[in-house]
């Protein structure tokens, strides 16, 4: 590579220099086979960045007080200097929207372009979860649709009614995804076209479900519940509804809640669709940040090697990069959990190392990876995993040693905590398993599913919570059940299961006698 002149020096940027750097990075990215959506890079002020933060990165959002709360806390933290504003903010859309803050120095802008516009962007385009669950070309249109629709509802039904509904939906938004079923893509045009049609159709569906006209006998399945003695007319032989447990609570409510108005169903649907859009992001934090950090590091170094940035810029970059990937120990005052940038960057860098210069340990642990083409392997890892499986597959002993990971068991039946594994031969696998579980969405959130809607009885809705290693539900359970009750309109029951047996029952509204004793 011939040494070229730096494109720019110093810390001031202009649109010309940014474009030149963007161009240079694009060239290099092509060399590394980073496939991206087109980039729409927006230069904004810090206030606008706070706005963008508050709406969780949605470029257009509907109005809700919780976004205001978010904004106020960001603003407060920023004003008091507790928090630097976003390193970058990038939106999974096509074109991919990335924000640059005007206050950033030249180095930061270049870093963010490398990190967001080529790192995150290629991740959005390549990773299987994003490919399955989100439709980058439709999201902005869908957000516009959602915002308009909700604004219309506010005009028609009052801000308060809509706010109540959104509160209830937000409480359940983590339970608005079909984890094991491929979703249909969201498209704004489609939504607008079909929205009214769906409204009418949905209502008839619900009506049928709740209608009291009996179903023809031929359609009735024989069920063990059918008892000629007590139920000669066979009113209860329909079996349980729904016949299979439902994990997607919002979907179930949207389709089955007896009393919701059509517009309310549509809003439930909007919250559900947006939850689905964010679903991949929640599962690929380590990978996504690690990938982007790996590439900004690689691209910046490469530009320095090619002479496109000078030493001053490079030093500034290294200082910033080092603080991004710093991982304070568990006992440090700066500790706040595992830093996804640090873990992800360490893992991707280590995969590259294993490919290029494997040790005998690596050959034993990663026979397929050791010595393979690093770029090929890295792309494979990025495309086909989520945090949980990525860690299970690629967390190497070397990374465990470097981060000095240890796993700790906290069992309420034991009066002390126990160190289960540390970074030694006996511990690597156990740490890898434990860390993988730690990032599994199914272990992070309680497993709660719709068990039965008593459509022929008191219309109560029964949910089942399958306890994970005896972990009970937290205090916020009752507020959430209250919201569920608002949506469903009839009593809500919740049963905690452990080993196939019900260990605890909850109910909302709380029955009268229980309330006295409580």
């Amino acid at each position: 590579m011939t040494q070229r002149k730096p494109i720019a020096t110093g810390s001031d940027w202009t649109f010309q220099t940014l474009e030149a750097y963007e161009h240079a990075i694009a060239e290099l990215a092509k060399e590394y086979r980073l496939e991206t959506y087109p980039n729409q890079i927006e230069v904004i002020t810090s206030e606008q960045m706070m706005d963008a933060y508050a709406s969780v990165g949605m470029p257009v959002g509907y109005h809700h007080w919780s976004f205001g709360k978010q904004f106020l806390s960001v603003e407060q933290a920023y004003r008091r200097g507790q928090m630097g504003l976003a390193y970058e903010l990038v939106i999974n859309s096509d074109p991919c929207i990335a924000y640059l803050m005007e206050e950033n120095s030249l180095m930061m802008q270049v870093l963010v372009i490398a990190h967001a516009c080529y790192g995150h962007n290629s991740f959005f385009k390549g990773n299987y979860l994003f490919r399955t669950w989100t439709d980058a070309s439709a999201i902005v249109d869908y957000l516009v649709f959602a915002r308009k629709y909700i604004a219309q509802c506010e005009e028609r039904h009052g801000v308060e009614a809509v706010e109540q509904l959104l509160d209830a939906c937000h409480a359940l938004q983590n339970y608005g995804v079909d984890r094991y079923k491929r979703p249909s893509s969201i498209s704004a045009e489609e939504e607008v076209r079909r929205q009214e049609e769906r409204e009418a159709y949905l209502q008839t569906q619900v009506n049928r479900l709740w209608s009291t006209i009996p179903v023809p006998v031929s359609e009735l399945a024989q069920s063990p519940l059918h008892d000629h003695e007590n139920d000669p007319l066979g009113l209860h032989r329909h079996g349980r509804y729904p016949s299979e447990p439902q994990e997607n609570l919002l979907y179930f409510l949207e389709k089955n809640a007896p009393l919701l108005e059509p517009w309310q169903r549509e809003i439930v649907r909007i919250v559900r669709k947006l939850a689905q859009y964010f679903y991949p992001q929640r599962q690929t934090q380590v990978m996504n940040e690690g990938w982007a950090t790996f590439w900004h590091y690689t691209l910046m170094n490469r530009m320095y090697d090619d002479g496109l940035i000078d030493e001053g810029t490079m030093l500034e970059f290294l200082q910033s990069h080092t603080s991004v990937v710093a991982q304070p120990g568990y006992d440090s005052p700066y500790f706040s959990g595992i830093n996804p940038y640090a873990l992800g960057f360490a893992m991707f860098s280590d995969i590259k190392r294993i490919c290029q210069s494997p040790t005998s340990e690596d050959r034993e642990w990663f026979p397929d990876v050791a010595g393979s083409d690093w770029l090929e392997t890295l792309h494979f890892a990025m495309q086909n995993f989520k945090d949980e499986s990525f860690i299970q597959q690629f967390l190497s002993p070397n990374v465990i040693r470097n981060l000095k990971l240890f796993s700790l068991v906290d069992d309420d039946r034991d009066d002390s905590l126990q160190i289960e594994a540390i970074h030694d031969d006996r511990g690597y696998r156990r740490i890898r398993d434990a860390l993988s579980v730690q990032y599994a969405l199914s272990a992070r959130e309680p497993n709660i599913q719709v068990w039965e809607a008593d459509i022929r009885g008191d219309r109560s809705l029964t949910l089942r919570h399958v306890q994970d290693r005896r972990r009970p539900l937290g205090q916020s359970l009752f507020p959430v059940m209250r919201y569920l009750h608002q949506l469903w309109g009839f009593p809500i029951k919740l049963e905690s299961m452990e080993g196939g047996e019900i260990v605890r029952r909850y109910q909302w509204p709380i029955p009268e006698p229980a309330r006295e004793s409580a």
Partner: protein, 426 residues
């Protein structure tokens, strides 16, 4: 492919609506915090916003979460001294060694406060929430002397300068169509008859009939031609009426006793009261002017600096100030155009025989012009003659005269709220 967009000139306040929604939702919490802070901080600080904190649990957004208990495995970085199988004491009861991921759920919740800042505007909104300028509306209706012309439809009479051309032409066209229609119909019939007649066999033609028809056609054409394009009664004029214009400006007279008995502490309390009133008026009127009148035995109009900080000694004649205010109103602030407010602060001292002349002055002249008169007496002692006299005025004008006693600085805000609280309608 990439492109850059400069979004900096775009609107900044994308979150303004959400922010307002939040403030609205937690109104009662914020109000409580604001009231506490108003009592705590000096009124001279009113010009800045305030940090407000709300217990996190009150504003949390609930979701299903794991509670403490059960068996958990947590992976943490930075091991220094642990070996496999080591047992540790559970730190500080319950909870457990800081969970790695984002489960902040059960631990130490409720201790946290959600802290944020209100802007000055928002802060003052909360300070003055539920307060009202007494009888603002009624008084505004009284102040109807000033009017401005406004368009009020169309009239048939008017001066040429106000002709509405479009409407006039439309009228003219309607009239022309209306007047021509029967003539045109007759004309058409006559022409058709003529054509029919002329087409007849020459033997059967009636020359007299043809002649008659021709003259009829000529007559009709002439009549059609003579319909005027624009007639006087087509004309329409823009109509203007004089609409009364509510006056949207106010003057606030600050009257303070600066005699020897008023200490600097008294004056500070008075100043805070004036400041609150000023901020409050400022929110209700487009323009608020301030007039400072201080007095001992003689009254004098002064600027703000002198008003609050220069010291005088001597006796006290309150009526001198009231007289001066009356003169100033006569000279500069016509009650038809200005909403007049008087705020007086004093320690209650007055020369014995002067209180009755104050009463007279207020009753006969001032109270008829004023929107509201507030009097605060800054004294821990028993009331004197002035209070008695003012009490009589209050009885006579219960809606426009208010007085309260202030003992120390903390009393100001409650007293202020009391003076301006929203009164039940009717």
């Amino acid at each position: 492919m990439s492109y850059f967009i400069d979004r900096r000139p775009n609107a900044r306040n994308k979150s303004a609506v959400n922010r307002q929604r939040f403030l609205q939702r937690y109104r009662s919490h914020i109000k409580r915090a604001v009231e506490e802070s108003v009592n705590r901080r000096s009124i001279t600080d009113m010009e800045r916003g305030e940090r407000v904190s709300i217990p996190t649990k009150d504003i949390s957004e609930p979701s299903f979460q794991h509670g403490p208990g059960g068996r958990r495995t947590v992976v943490n970085p930075g091991n220094k001294e642990f070996a496999e199988g080591d047992r540790l004491r559970r730190p500080g009861g319950g909870g457990g060694g800081g969970s790695g991921d984002g489960q902040a759920s059960g631990q130490g919740e409720g201790m946290d406060e959600f802290v944020f800042s209100l802007s000055r505007e928002e802060f003052l909104d909360f300070v003055f929430d539920g307060l009202e300028l007494p009888h603002l509306e009624r008084k505004q209706l009284q102040v109807l002397e000033e009017t401005r012309p406004v368009r009020a439809g169309i009239s048939k009479e008017g001066v040429p300068a106000r002709i509405n051309i479009v409407r006039s032409m439309r009228e003219a066209q309607a009239r022309r169509i209306g007047m021509r229609a029967p003539l045109k119909r007759a004309l058409r019939e006559a022409q058709e008859a003529l054509v029919a007649e002329e087409r007849k066999d020459p033997v059967l033609r009636n020359p007299a009939r043809i002649e008659e028809l021709k003259s009829e056609i000529a007559r009709l054409e002439k009549r059609i031609g003579s319909i005027p394009f624009l007639d006087t009664y087509d004309l329409r004029y823009n109509h203007l009426t004089h609409q009364p214009m509510p006056s949207n400006q106010a003057v606030m007279f600050c009257i303070m006793d600066v005699s020897g008995s008023m200490t600097q502490a008294h004056k500070d309390i008075g100043k805070r009261f004036f400041l609150l009133l000023y901020l409050f008026l400022e929110r209700n009127y487009e323009k608020v002017e301030l007039v400072f009148v201080r007095h001992h035995t003689v009254a004098k109009e002064v600027d703000e600096e002198e008003f609050f900080y220069s010291r005088e000694t001597g006796g006290t004649i309150v009526s001198s100030a009231l007289t001066l205010v009356d003169e100033i109103i006569e000279a500069r602030y016509a009650p038809e155009q200005w909403n007049l407010y008087v705020a007086q602060a004093s320690d209650g001292d007055n020369w014995d025989d002067d209180s009755s002349s104050c009463l007279e002055l207020l009753d006969e002249s001032l109270m008829h012009k004023l929107q509201y008169f507030t009097y605060v007496e800054i004294t821990p002692h028993a009331h004197q003659a002035l209070w008695e006299a003012y009490d009589t005025v209050r009885a006579a004008y219960p809606e426009r005269f208010a007085m309260q006693q202030i003992v120390q600085a903390e009393d100001i805000y409650p007293v202020f709220r009391e003076l301006f609280r929203q009164r039940a309608q009717g």
